[in-house]
C-alpha cells in the first residue's frame, strides 16, 4: 500500500515538473486575484490591512479550486486510471496519493506566497504567522472539498466552472472559520479549532466520495 | 374593499410578496400540467405509430 502511494506521488510530482509549469497556474492566479482586488478597492483601502485576511483567504480558496480542475480527469481520459484499477491497485490509495501530490505541487506554492500577499495588503506583520497557521489548518478542507467536486465532474471536459459551482456552497464553512481564526488573533481560538475540525471531517468524507465517484466513471 | 387591501405604507411589500409567490407557484403548476399533457400525447402518438 505504501509502495502504491509512493508510486502515485512520485509519478505526479515528476509529471508536475515536466508539465511546463502548470503547477504554478494556481499561484499566478492567486497573485493576480490579490492585485485585481487591490485595484477594485483603490490604493487607500488596499493598504489598510483589515481586509488582508479576508482577501487572502478568498484568493487561496478560488486559486485552489481552479487548480483542481484537472486533478482526476486527465488520468481518467487517457486510461491510466483504468490501468491502475485493472492492476488490482487500490483506488482509495490513488485518491490519497493524488491529493498529497497536488498539495505539494499546487497548494504549497500558494501557501508560500500568501504571507507576501498579506503584507502587500497592509496586514500587520504580527498577524501574518496566525494567517499562515489558519491556512495550514484550513487548507486541507478547501483542497479536499474541491477534490470531491473534481472527482464528481471528472468525465466532463472543461468542468472548471462546474467544480466551483458544486464546491462553492460547501466552502462557506472553512472560509468563515479561517477568516474568523485570523481575526481572533490567537492560535487556540474557537474558530481555529472548528477550522481544524472541518479539515478532519473533510479528510474522512472527501476521499470516500471521490473514490465512489471515480468508480462510477470507470464503470 | 379598498381599505381592506390597504396595509399602510408597507402595502407594496406585502402585495409584491404575494404577487411573486402566486406567479412562481402558478407558473410551476401550469408548466407541470402542460408537460404532463404533452408527454402523454407524444407517448400516445408513438404507441399508435408502432402498433403492428
Amino acid at each position: 500500500m505504501i509502495s502504491q502511494l509512493k508510486l502515485i506521488v512520485f509519478r505526479d510530482l515528476l509529471l508536475a515538473t515536466r508539465s511546463g509549469g502548470s503547477w504554478a497556474q494556481g499561484s499566478i492566479f492567486f497573485i493576480l486575484f490579490i492585485m485585481l482586488a487591490a485595484f477594485a478597492l483603490g490604493p487607500d483601502q488596499a493598504e489598510r490591512g483589515f481586509i488582508a485576511p479576508a482577501l487572502v483567504w478568498l484568493a487561496v480558496t478560488f486559486a485552489s479550486q481552479l487548480s483542481l480542475g484537472q486533478l482526476f480527469s486527465e488520468d481518467l481520459n487517457d486510461g491510466s486510471l483504468e490501468c491502475w484499477v485493472t492492476d488490482n491497485r487500490s483506488l482509495f490509495v490513488y485518491v490519497i496519493g493524488k491529493l498529497f501530490s497536488h498539495w505539494i505541487s499546487n497548494f504549497a506554492p500558494i501557501l508560500l506566497l500568501s504571507p507576501f500577499a498579506a503584507i502587500m495588503l497592509g496586514a500587520d506583520t504580527s498577524s501574518v504567522p496566525i494567517l499562515m497557521i489558519s491556512l495550514l489548518v484550513g487548507g486541507p478542507a478547501i483542497v479536499l472539498i474541491g477534490a470531491m467536486a473534481s472527482a464528481l465532474t471528472a468525465n466532463l471536459r472543461g468542468a472548471g466552472l462546474l467544480i466551483v459551482l458544486i464546491s462553492g456552497p460547501l466552502l462557506a464553512s472553512p472560509l468563515i472559520f479561517g477568516v474568523g481564526a485570523v481575526q481572533a488573533g490567537v492560535i487556540n481560538s474557537v474558530a481555529m479549532k472548528l477550522l481544524g475540525a472541518i479539515s478532519l471531517f473533510s479528510l474522512v468524507l472527501s476521499p470516500v466520495i471521490s473514490r465512489l465517484a471515480l468508480k462510477i466513471h470507470l464503470e | 374593499m379598498p381599505e381592506l387591501l390597504d396595509f399602510g405604507k408597507n402595502s407594496i411589500f406585502i402585495w409584491t410578496c404575494y404577487g411573486v409567490t402566486i406567479v412562481v407557484l402558478g407558473a410551476m403548476i401550469i408548466t407541470s400540467l402542460r408537460k404532463k399533457k404533452l408527454a402523454k400525447k407524444a407517448l400516445a402518438i408513438v404507441l399508435e405509430e408502432q402498433k403492428p
Partner: protein, 254 residues
C-alpha cells in the same frame, strides 16, 4: 427488465389516488391560509401589517428545506438500490426546491426592507437559505452536464448526499459567523404569537408541502412518459429498414 417496468406501473396506479389528494389538499390549505393571513389575522403589535409576509415566507423556506431533505433521501435510495424511480423523483424535485428557495429568499428580502431597513442583511437564516439555493443549482448543473443517464443519476446522487451531509455544518458556521455581527434580527419567539397566527402559518406550511408533493408526482409522471416515448422511438429506429417499410405498408390496412 420486468421489475424495471413493473415499478413505474405500480407508481402510476398509486399516483392516480395520491396526486389528486395532494393537489386538492394544496388548494384548500394554501388559499384559505392566504385569505386568513391577509384579511383575518390581526396585525402584529410590533411589526404591524408587514407581519403578513411571514405567511408566504416561512412556508416557502420550510418547503425548500423539505425539498432538499427529499432530494437527499431520494438520492440515497437511487444510489444504494439503483432505483430509477427514486432518481426520477430526485431529478424533478431539484428545480421545484430551487423555486421554493427563491421564493423564500425573495419574500425574505422584501420582509427585511420594512423590518431592518435593508433588502438584504446577512442574517443567518437568509444566508443559509442562499447556500441551499446554490446546492440545488449545483445539483441541477451536474445533472444537466452529464449526458449519460446512468452516470448522471449516480454522480448526482453522490453530489446531493455530500451536500446534505455538509448542510448542517454550513448552517452552523453561518450562524456562528452572523452572531459576530450582532445585527438586528427579528425574534419570532419574542413577539406574542396569536393563536390564529400560528394556526394559519401551520395550515400554510402543510399546504406548501402538499403542493410540493403534487408537483413532484406530476413531473415524475411526465418524465416517465417521456422516457418511455424515447425508448420506443430508439427501439423503432434500431430496427431494420425492411421492417420499417413493412410497417408503413401494413398501416393503411389496419
Amino acid at each position: 427488465m420486468l421489475s424495471y417496468f413493473a415499478n413505474p406501473v405500480r407508481f402510476k396506479t398509486l399516483s392516480k389516488w395520491v396526486a389528486p389528494i395532494l393537489g386538492i389538499g394544496a388548494a384548500v390549505l394554501i388559499i384559505p391560509s392566504w385569505i386568513m393571513a391577509l384579511f383575518i389575522v390581526p396585525a402584529d403589535y410590533q411589526q404591524g401589517d408587514t407581519f403578513r409576509i411571514m405567511y408566504v415566507h416561512v412556508p416557502a423556506v420550510f418547503a425548500a428545506s423539505g425539498a432538499y431533505a427529499f432530494l437527499a433521501i431520494a438520492s440515497f435510495f437511487s444510489f444504494v438500490w439503483r432505483h430509477p424511480l427514486a432518481d426520477t423523483a430526485a431529478r424533478v424535485a431539484a428545480p421545484i426546491g430551487a423555486a421554493f428557495t427563491f421564493l423564500g429568499l425573495f419574500t425574505g428580502a422584501l420582509w427585511g426592507k420594512p423590518m431592518w431597513g435593508a433588502y438584504w442583511v446577512w442574517d443567518a437564516r437568509l444566508t443559509s437559505t442562499l447556500v441551499m439555493l446554490f446546492l440545488f443549482l449545483g445539483y441541477m448543473a451536474i445533472r444537466a452536464a452529464i449526458r449519460d443517464e446512468n452516470i448522471s443519476a449516480r454522480i448526482g446522487a453522490i453530489a446531493a448526499m455530500a451536500g446534505a451531509i455538509n448542510l448542517p455544518i454550513v448552517k452552523y458556521s453561518v450562524e456562528w459567523w452572523s452572531s459576530l455581527h450582532q445585527s438586528a434580527s427579528i425574534n419570532l419567539s419574542g413577539s406574542e404569537i396569536d393563536n390564529s397566527m400560528s394556526t394559519t402559518l401551520f395550515v400554510g406550511i402543510i399546504g406548501y408541502f402538499c403542493l410540493f408533493g403534487w408537483l413532484v408526482i406530476n413531473n415524475m409522471l411526465s418524465e416517465l412518459d417521456t422516457r418511455r416515448t424515447r425508448a420506443l422511438v430508439i427501439r423503432s429506429s434500431d430496427q431494420r429498414p425492411s421492417t420499417a417499410s413493412k410497417q408503413s405498408t401494413g398501416n393503411p390496412d389496419a
